[in-house]
């Protein structure tokens, strides 16, 4: 096995592209090292991306925020500007693991680990976040929801690295929220979760809405119909009922020790309602 710490994204991409055996990208390592220890992966090459310029930085741009792939969630949580603009994304990212894990784990890693129960991913999908992918044939920017294709699988090709996550600049009346159900008070894997992102018009009616569910299908789900049903409303009772019904119906969950299919369907709807209410309030709705 070889460990390398390239200084440029081009070198990192080049090393990954020409790697013969299994290769792994290392940022926080909170998934990778556990999988290595468990014998689930035996990489011949580990590419540590933390020394690559810009990857450890959060940058405010004209369009919003650029969160480098090596930014630990603890650092993200300490960034006041991102927290103010995207509280749902930040609270989701800060739910991952303990203080110790927060010091290492990244939202890009959470996305690329491709767990259906990844906490930050429903919030990112609801937020309409994008991933900047660097690869052998250059760079491309793709929607976050197009990265995971199944449990532990992504759409990234050999040699490709996500170098940053992009979040849009926020209009005045906007809010997002993320909620998950776990049987304890903290440090657990989501049994089911929901992220909601809203913008309102001047009268407090919902102008745009995106709803995403976690641990409800093989990948995090963007439920477009759930977003559509919210548009034009002020989150009245009847709209919230329809939201819950659509979310419950969109789930394709598994039965396991952490929750039954029936339970996950029901709770997905409830969490979507509650997350929508929090997002609405954060957006200034009454």
């Amino acid at each position: 096995m070889r460990y390398i710490r390239p200084l440029s994204i081009e070198d990192a991409v080049g090393e990954l592209a020409k790697a013969v055996g299994p290769a792994a990208i290392l940022a926080g390592g909170s998934d990778l090292l556990v999988r290595m220890k468990g014998g689930f992966i035996e990489p011949e090459l580990i590419v540590d991306i933390k020394a690559i310029g810009g990857l450890a930085d959060i940058t405010e741009t004209a369009d919003g925020f650029r969160i480098g792939a090596a930014v630990p969630c603890a650092v993200l949580g300490e960034n006041k500007a991102v927290r103010k603009a995207w509280p749902g994304v930040v609270e989701a990212a800060n739910l991952i693991g303990s203080k110790q894990v927060q010091g290492r784990c990244t939202i890009t890693g959470n996305l690329c680990n491709a767990s259906p129960a990844a906490d930050s991913v429903p919030a990112l999908v609801a937020a309409g976040a994008k991933a900047v992918v660097a690869g052998p044939s250059g760079k491309r920017t793709i929607a976050v929801e197009s990265v995971p294709t199944g449990p532990g699988r992504t759409s990234l090709a050999k040699g490709e690295i996500i170098e940053a996550i992009l979040l849009d600049k926020r209009p005045v009346h906007a809010g997002d929220a993320y909620l998950r159900f776990i049987p304890r008070t903290e440090m657990d894997i989501a049994v089911v979760s929901a992220g909601v992102n809203l913008t309102l018009d001047d009268k407090g009616a919902i102008k745009t809405a995106r709803v995403a569910l976690g641990a409800a299908a093989p990948t995090v789900l963007l439920v477009e119909e759930a977003g559509q049903v919210l548009v034009g409303s002020k989150l009245d009772e009847a709209t919230l009922e329809r939201l819950a019904k659509i979310c419950s119906g969109a789930c394709r969950p598994i039965d396991d020790k952490r929750g039954t299919i029936e339970f996950r369907r029901k709770v997905a709807g409830v969490l979507a309602q509650r997350a929508a209410a929090i997002a609405y309030k954060r957006a200034g709705g009454k």
Binding site: G29, S30, K37, P72, R104
Partner: protein, 158 residues
Amino acid sequence: MAGVAVSTTINGDAVEYLCQPDETLLEVLRDRLGLTGAKEGCGTGDCGACSVIVDGRLVCSCLVLGAEAEGRKVETIEGMAHGDQLHPLQQKFIEHAALQCGICTPGFLIAAKDLLAKNPSPTEEEIRFGLAGNLCRCTGYDKIVRAVQDAANVMKGA
């Protein structure tokens, strides 16, 4: 396998070592450098017994590669006391009997040190959340929380 040459700083001292690319920082500390204060409980980042501080961030050393310590500043339990002078947290852990078997204690002390560095006056709830990444199967946590509260008071007065 060729080793990786690493130059780092541990508890203020410049340290150089060779390690294998898949060796964790915890293994390096314990098996190569003889710093056996950090313990391996789970090896998967769940128990916090291997907690160390790297560049001001609390981490599980079982989830860091030894090679990653290049150019970093690592703080371990061995650097917590000044000679014979115990850190207030260590003193209060003894006074409050905040340990029984002691395996989790170095991790708790490092995590508590990090907590108080960032929040010198934590509430009981903040202490409990702040130390939630450290597991203790003996004490039931209450004595640990009391010790951290007491140490926080002492450190504020200092």
